[in-house]
């Protein structure tokens, strides 16, 4: 009730020339027209499937017959499913160890590439290249061959007297291999770190040098706080990304999550449940649980970020 007078008053008090309004209307229409392809895609390919997946997560659905409503049964069964628990363990291991290592590598290389040296352009592209091709199927195949029995890695290590055998078939080694693979693909966060490093005013470092600060002190007191928004962004993106690992695990384990379930990542198990076992309702429940968990983790990150992320203009 209070709104309509406000609206009419605003309309009355701010009369706009009709010509301009028509122009604006045309602008808006053009804007929406350009937006339309994306909007259609978003509704048809993202929102629609998400809603139907949410519905399916409460059903027993085998892809062929009509879904049967079973309430929260899928969610309840999940926690009695040993393979599900195993997949959670495998994925957590990967996220907890892989992500920080990858970010550390990205930051270290970004700092190396930030200094003015000859041929920096070449090095920057060279270090970025792996992440361009890294997500591709071919790289997973190459890694599988490299870490296989009597592959280059096995041969190289045995040259130093370390005989581990192939990593691919050894359940105790596959996680290490998967983490190495993700660390090696540090290009994307590295580029973002590089951009962040470029933004740090050099006079800060000059002033610190004057006061006699060494490289470690400069890193702790200047680089880290100045870079913290970028670190936060990278940490968030890479964590979410790590939860979604699929293609490399699928290729390396022949789509089975083996050996002995050591590469049974969450998304891989989800896929197997859906498409190998025809249990789409169960897979949908897993998908939604993942959305919720990633959402909670993101929330925690944002809450705790206040204590260590510094934005310029913050009164601190």
């Amino acid at each position: 009730m209070t709104q309509s007078p406000t609206l009419s008053r605003r309309a009355a008090s701010a009369p706009t020339p009709p010509r301009k309004s028509r122009r604006r209307g045309a602008d808006t229409r053009a804007g929406y027209t350009f937006l339309l392809p994306w909007l259609l895609g978003f509704i048809a390919l993202t929102v629609g499937p998400m809603i139907s997946s949410l519905y399916l997560s409460f059903t027993n659905y085998n892809l062929f017959d009509a879904p049967k409503w079973i309430g929260f049964d899928n969610y309840a069964t999940l926690f009695q499913d040993e393979r599900f628990l195993q997949s959670v363990g495998v994925t957590m291991q990967y996220v907890v160890f892989g992500t920080p290592l990858k970010l550390a590598a990205a930051l270290a290389i970004a700092m190396l590439l930030n200094s003015k040296r000859k041929g920096q352009g070449f090095y920057r592209s060279a270090f970025y290249a792996p992440s361009l091709i890294g997500a591709s199927v071919s790289i997973a195949i190459v890694w599988k061959a490299m870490f296989g029995d009597s592959g280059p890695v096995d041969q190289g290590l045995s040259f130093f007297g370390i005989n581990l055998g192939g990593w691919v078939g050894n359940p105790n080694m596959t996680m290490g291999m998967m983490i190495l693979l993700t660390v090696w693909q540090f290009g994307a966060p590295m580029v973002i770190f590089l951009a962040g490093l470029k933004q740090i005013p050099t006079d800060l470092y000059e002033a610190a040098s004057m006061d006699g600060a060494g490289p470690v002190r400069k890193f702790i007191n200047i680089t880290w706080p100045m870079l913290s928004p970028v670190i936060f962004f990278n940490l968030l993106m890479e964590t979410i990304h790590a939860f979604q690992i699929f293609a490399s695990a699928y290729i390396i384990s022949n789509g089975e999550g083996g050996p002995a379930g050591s590469t049974l990542f969450y998304t891989l198990y989800l896929y197997l449940r859906g498409f190998s076992d025809f249990r789409m309702g169960y897979a949908s429940a897993m998908a939604w649980l993942l959305v919720i968990v990633v959402g909670i983790i993101t929330l925690i990150f944002f809450k705790t970020s206040k204590s260590w992320v510094h934005y310029s203009g913050d009164a601190k």
Partner: protein, 428 residues
């Protein structure tokens, strides 16, 4: 300015909606019948290795030359990926027109109306053994036509055995003797040659053992016909062999994938289907491989049967029923197709194809093997229960865990039964 924007807007809208309509709309040409100038295209998919791909391409080329009004688009993948692709396609309503099929998945798709009832089209089955056809039928409807038959066997490489100074087996052995044989190979193989793969990890081998003990795997009402104790007994057969040179380590076997340890010359024997001969020869480069019957504790009951090694099926939604039926008929009956595949799909199921094929060398070994076990053969099993594909892969996975030492026999049996009971309940 405004006019240009309007113009741009209209163009953008037009392009977007055109793209959208193109994405949504079905292809509007019904193309039910083709001609030599304008052939209809059917898609065909199969699983297998390069050897089978080569033979299949030859067969397709032959079909196209005899049927200029039909074009066949073929593609293949390995067995594991094959079923995941089919599930995706079935969900989207786009199964290939004609498919190579496995008995394990016939009920899943047939019972759920994804496959064409081949009784409604023209396929000649006169030359088929009448006891074989029911394995492609569910509730009186024919969903699959067997291309060929296979039987379980023990493969061995005579050259490898003689280099180790071990006598060739004759196949009249019980499980204890078979285990002793594997152990001897492993001991003399000196770390480079292992006895075999853990034969208890193959569902069909377990099924044969059940038959040897006069137990049915599945009951008529879709339940399990054996007990947890039976399964434990089975997995305990190789309990002493796991982790020794008698059985190749699971880590090694995993690394060799997609080839088998036997195909990679890592083991001297392999217990599996007799139609793997061509594939094994191609993979291993061995001169000769031989076949003998599986072990049995009852010499009069080997539990063996002829199974359709592969079936040809068509999608229920195919738009080219006639072309699909002609292609299936050609693939199962044409003598020249038999000549192309020899025994690589198994021994041809149709008599016309069998008679039209000359079996020499290793192919003759496969045919002779099936002849030699004729007196032990019992009826082929009906298509197993819905969801059997999952049970079969769980069976393999659990045995792998057993070999990795991650599970005990009791734990493995519990794990498999839990999955099986859950699955039967799901599909009830």
């Amino acid at each position: 300015m405004i006019d240009r924007r309007k113009f741009l807007g209209t163009v953008a809208l037009g392009t977007a909606s055109a793209a959208f309509l193109a994405a949504c709309g079905q292809s509007s040409s019904p193309a039910q019948t083709g001609s030599a100038e304008n052939p209809v295209t059917i898609t065909y998919t199969w699983w297998g290795n390069d050897d089978r791909a080569e033979r299949t391409r030859k067969a397709i080329a032959l079909f196209e030359s005899k049927n200029p009004d039909v074009k066949v688009n073929g593609n293949f993948s390995d067995f594991a990926g094959y079923w995941q692709k089919r599930a995706t396609e079935a969900a989207g309503g786009g199964l290939p027109d004609v498919m190579q099929w496995d008995l394990s998945y016939l009920r899943d798709y047939g019972q759920r109306n994804q496959l064409l009832d081949l009784g409604t089209v023209k396929i000649n089955t006169d030359a088929f053994d009448k006891s074989l056809l029911p394995s492609g039928q569910i509730r009186g409807k024919t969903y699959g036509i067997p291309t060929s038959t296979n039987a379980f066997a023990v493969y061995y490489d005579p050259a490898k055995l003689s280099s180790l100074g071990i006598a060739e087996p004759d196949g009249s052995w019980n499980y204890k003797e078979f285990n002793a044989f594997l152990t001897e190979v492993g001991a003399k193989g000196n770390g480079t040659l292992f006895g075999g793969t853990d034969y208890t990890g193959i569902w069909w081998n377990f099924n044969i053992w059940l038959r040897q003990n006069n137990i049915e795997a599945f009951t008529d009402d879709g339940k399990l016909g054996f007990s947890k104790d039976d399964l434990k007994k089975w997995w305990n057969l190789t309990a002493d062999l796991r982790g020794t040179a008698a059985i190749v380590g699971e880590d090694k076997a995993t690394q060799l994938l997609p080839k088998s340890p036997f195909g990679s010359n890592v083991t001297a024997t392999e217990v599996t289907w007799d139609n793997f001969m061509a594939g094994y020869l191609a993979d291993s480069g061995a001169k000769e491989l031989k076949l003998v019957p599986v072990p049995s504790d009852d010499p009069d009951n080997l539990g063996l049967f002829l199974k359709p090694s592969m079936l040809m099926v068509a999608s229920a939604k195919t738009k080219n029923k006639d072309a699909a039926a002609r292609f299936i008929d050609f693939m199962v009956n044409d003598p020249e197709v038999g000549q192309i595949f020899k025994t690589s799909r198994g021994v041809p199921a149709s008599k016309t194809q069998r008679d039209g094929t000359t079996f020499e060398g290793t192919d003759k070994l496969v045919v002779d093997y099936e002849k030699s076990i004729e007196k032990y053969l019992k009826d082929a099993p009906e298509p197993p229960i819905v969801g059997f594909g999952t049970l079969e892969s769980t069976f393999k996975r659990v045995t792998q865990d057993l070999n990795y030492g991650k599970l005990t026999v009791d734990g493995a049996a519990d794990a498999w039964f839990k999955e099986a009971e859950d699955l039967i309940k799901q599909n009830a």
